[in-house]
């Protein structure tokens, strides 16, 4: 039995057994459902093996929504635990695991796939391309991310979750203080997902640099594509750091090396240092595409071209460079001298300048615009004031001397939620509403959408503003409870109410999807928002090849030119179109990666060796495979186009 003991949860509770049962039942229900409705073949042919950027995008979206709810449940449990003093809803160990997984799930398995969804779905359409540069690599990226996320998510029912915070600082995360396999999950699952992300970065840089429509120079790209390009450049420079860091962490935990130990020449602070060399650029990887979405939404619904296009691009380039120069502001209190802290204070505050430029550009885009208040626009308008508040508290935190007061308090927690929720989450929701008709051929209900936006904002303010106060009063983050005498009770109760309102908001999103699927009109045009960029110039639903004829572009608003200035987008005759073939290898290889990761977590070396061989076999198969893709004939294109035109 010794062998099986390691798979047991180290400190089980009723909730964990209930989750085990729920996961088991869900898996059985999914398998039974697929068999009963005879959907296995459909699933394999149309989704598991697809290399179509639009379908891969939609799979990213589904994963992101799933993980949003996983992370959201974690959040609600934390807020419920802290709602009253000396609460016993969760014990210390559970609370540790929950704040750890909440952080990782929300950043790496919710926000990241959400931006990957937008990049996959929107970028090729926006630049007038037929797919990404390396479609099969794209499928592999998605499946590696997905398997990494799933490996991470089974941790709490098999072997125990990581419990050293999403930053996983050593020496706490080392074997001396964290014996369970939880932190092995952290190292391996994020490593697998991270490889996928790095490949996406390379893929999209190539796509954007090489596959733009004729006439679209770099400075004629739509703003979202620019933001995606910059974000992917940051990915390519930042994610190798994470890969090396996690590998070193794995070596420390499972092979007895001493990179981050307290003795034998190790340096525990080095983990925090390298972690943030990746971690700070990572937040800009999330926020820049979000800014790109706001730029698209605001210029569409202000019915004006984006104000200050060049300064928008310039400020993003500056942000991408500065994002690599500020990492030490995450540990001002670790003991380095005032000189170092001053340098990193100044670079940090400098980021406020290009960010401010962007905020003013959006405001000036609105000026004299004919503003239409749709749901995506509502999210964008709520974003500007709320995000600015988060930015201002960020400048407060950037002052290293003052940071000694705020460090690791709820003030910090309030700050980063204040930038991430209005900054990233609102952008994702705005983009979801905005691009939904292009994906599925019907709009999401506007009335429910606006209710959701307001509920989320009210909930957000109630949940996070009190944390600024209790943080300044000295409430530390990551403490699972506090005494009544501390006086944090009222603020935390308000936070809990706010979190509950936000939860209602997120449930409303699901209800909106259900409601709109049933009742919303399917009779919409290809361009229901009267938008300005190329993705709206093709049919809804988008045909496999995106554009029957590659568009001709003269400005950064090619569709607007076509609609208002008599520009002809699609010139010439249909020609046969070269498309990539579907392939099962990315999915199979990622499944092997999952088994590899699981075996690695539990140090089962024989399966690790076997699966490593399996991974290399998959790569060799790909190397020797002769696959030149296939052609869609002119006749087929004509049929599809006639059908989609509804003529």
């Amino acid at each position: 039995m010794d062998f099986f003991d390691r798979f047991a949860v180290p400190h089980p509770s009723l909730a964990i057994y209930a989750s085990m049962a729920a996961i088991g039942l869900t898996i059985i229900a999914v398998i039974a459902g697929l068999t009963y409705f005879k959907k296995w073949g459909y699933l394999w042919r149309e989704w598991l093996t697809t290399v179509d950027h639009k379908r891969i995008g939609i799979m990213y979206l589904l994963s992101a929504l799933l993980m949003l709810f996983r992370g959201g449940v974690d959040a609600i449990m934390m807020r419920a635990q802290l709602a009253v003093p000396e609460n016993t809803l969760l014990d210390a160990q559970h609370y540790n695991e929950i704040f750890t997984t909440h952080g990782i799930v929300m950043i790496l398995f919710m926000a990241m796939p959400f931006i990957m969804f937008f990049m996959n779905f929107v970028v090729p359409l926006q630049i007038g391309a037929r797919d990404v540069a390396f479609p099969r690599l794209n499928a592999l990226s998605f499946w590696l991310f997905f398997m990494g996320a799933m490996l991470f998510n089974i941790s709490f029912v098999v072997g125990g979750s990581p419990d050293a915070g999403w930053t996983s600082y050593f020496p706490l995360a080392g074997t001396e203080f964290s014996e369970s396999v939880g932190n092995n999950y952290y190292m391996i699952a994020i490593q697998i997902a991270g490889i996928g992300t790095l490949m996406t970065g390379i893929n999209f840089i190539t796509t954007i640099l090489k596959m733009r429509a004729p006439g679209m120079t770099l400075m004629k790209m739509p703003m979202f594509t620019w933001s995606a390009l910059i974000a992917n450049v940051i990915i390519v420079f930042a994610f190798p750091v994470l890969a090396v860091l996690l590998a070193m962490g794995t070596l420390d935990r499972q092979f007895g090396t001493n990179f981050f130990t307290m003795d034998n020449g190790g340096m525990d602070m080095l983990w925090a240092n390298i972690f943030w060399v990746w971690g700070h650029p990572e937040v800009y990887i999330l926020i820049l595409p979000a800014f790109g979405i706001y730029s698209e939404v605001i210029s569409t619904f202000a019915r004006r071209n984006l104000y200050g296009y060049k300064s928008m691009v310039g400020s993003m380039v500056i942000i991408s460079l500065l994002s690599f120069l500020v990492w030490a502001h995450h540990f001002f209190t670790m003991g380095q001298g005032a000189f170092t802290n001053s340098i990193f204070s100044i670079t940090t505050m400098a980021i406020a300048v290009p960010t401010g430029v962007k905020i003013f550009n959006w405001l000036l885009t609105l000026r004299k615009g004919k503003i239409v208040f749709t749901t995506p626009m509502l999210y964008s308008m709520l974003f500007i004031p709320l995000f600015t508040l988060g930015g201002v508290t960020g400048v407060m935190l950037a002052m290293s001397a003052a940071d000694y007061q705020y460090h690791n308090t709820m003030f910090l927690v309030a700050h980063f939620h204040n930038v991430i929720i209005p900054g990233v989450v609102y952008a994702m929701l705005a983009g979801l509403h905005y691009y939904w008709p292009k994906m599925f051929g019907f709009m999401l209900n506007e009335k429910i959408g606006k209710w959701t936006a307001w509920l989320l904002s009210i909930g957000f303010i109630l949940a996070f503003m009190p944390m600024y106060v209790s943080g300044l009063d000295g409430q530390a983050r990551r403490m699972y409870t506090y005494s009544e005498a501390a006086g944090f009770g009222l603020m935390n109760m308000i936070s809990f109410v706010g979190a509950a309102i936000m939860a209602i908001g997120f449930v409303l999103i699901v209800y909106n999807i259900y409601y709109s699927t049933r009742y919303e009109s399917r009779d919409i045009s290809n361009d229901p928002w009267d938008a300005r960029t190329l993705e709206w110039s093709t049919h809804t639903p988008v045909p496999e090849y995106n554009f029957a004829i590659l568009p001709d572009v003269r400005s950064n608003e090619a569709l607007w030119d076509a609609k208002k200035n008599g520009h002809v987008l699609f010139k010439g005759e249909y020609q046969k179109i070269h498309m990539p073939n579907n392939s099962g290898i990315p999915f199979i290889m990622s499944c092997i990666f999952f088994v590899w990761g699981f075996s690695f977590v539990f140090s089962l070396w024989i399966p690790v060796i076997l699966t490593t061989i399996g991974i290399f076999v998959c790569m060799a198969l790909r190397s020797f495979e002769q696959d030149h893709g296939r052609y869609i004939s002119v006749k087929e294109i004509e049929e599809t186009e006639t059908n989609l035109r509804g003529a």
């Binding site: 340096m267 602070m269 390298i274 060399v277 120069l325 003991g335 001298g337």
Partner: protein
């Protein structure tokens, strides 16, 4: 005939051998740690640049500017990371 003979590559190869010899000399000659490290770092960077330009054909396509921008951006970030880490973890601790 002169077009067929890869003069640039041959000279590059000789030069890279020379750089290797100089670097190797650090091991055999008796010199201070600082002097040895300086020689190693200088020869390593020249060697890397040489390989990139002469043997990996960095400057020979119309992607030239994109490739060099990328290399310099990567270099800047690497240097900032290394020296920033040294500053925060060692020099100013």
């Amino acid at each position: 005939m002169s077009q067929l003979f890869p003069m640039k590559q041959v000279l590059g190869f000789v030069f890279s051998l020379l750089l290797t010899t100089v670097a190797l000399a650090v091991y055999f000659l008796d010199m201070s740690f600082a002097a040895g490290m300086t020689i190693l770092l200088v020869t390593a960077f020249i060697q890397a640049g040489l390989q990139l330009v002469v043997f990996m054909h960095a400057g020979e396509t119309k992607d030239k500017s994109a490739i060099y921008t990328n290399v310099f951006y990567g270099l800047i970030i690497a240097l900032v990371t290394v020296f920033g880490t040294l500053l925060a973890m060692v020099w100013d601790m």
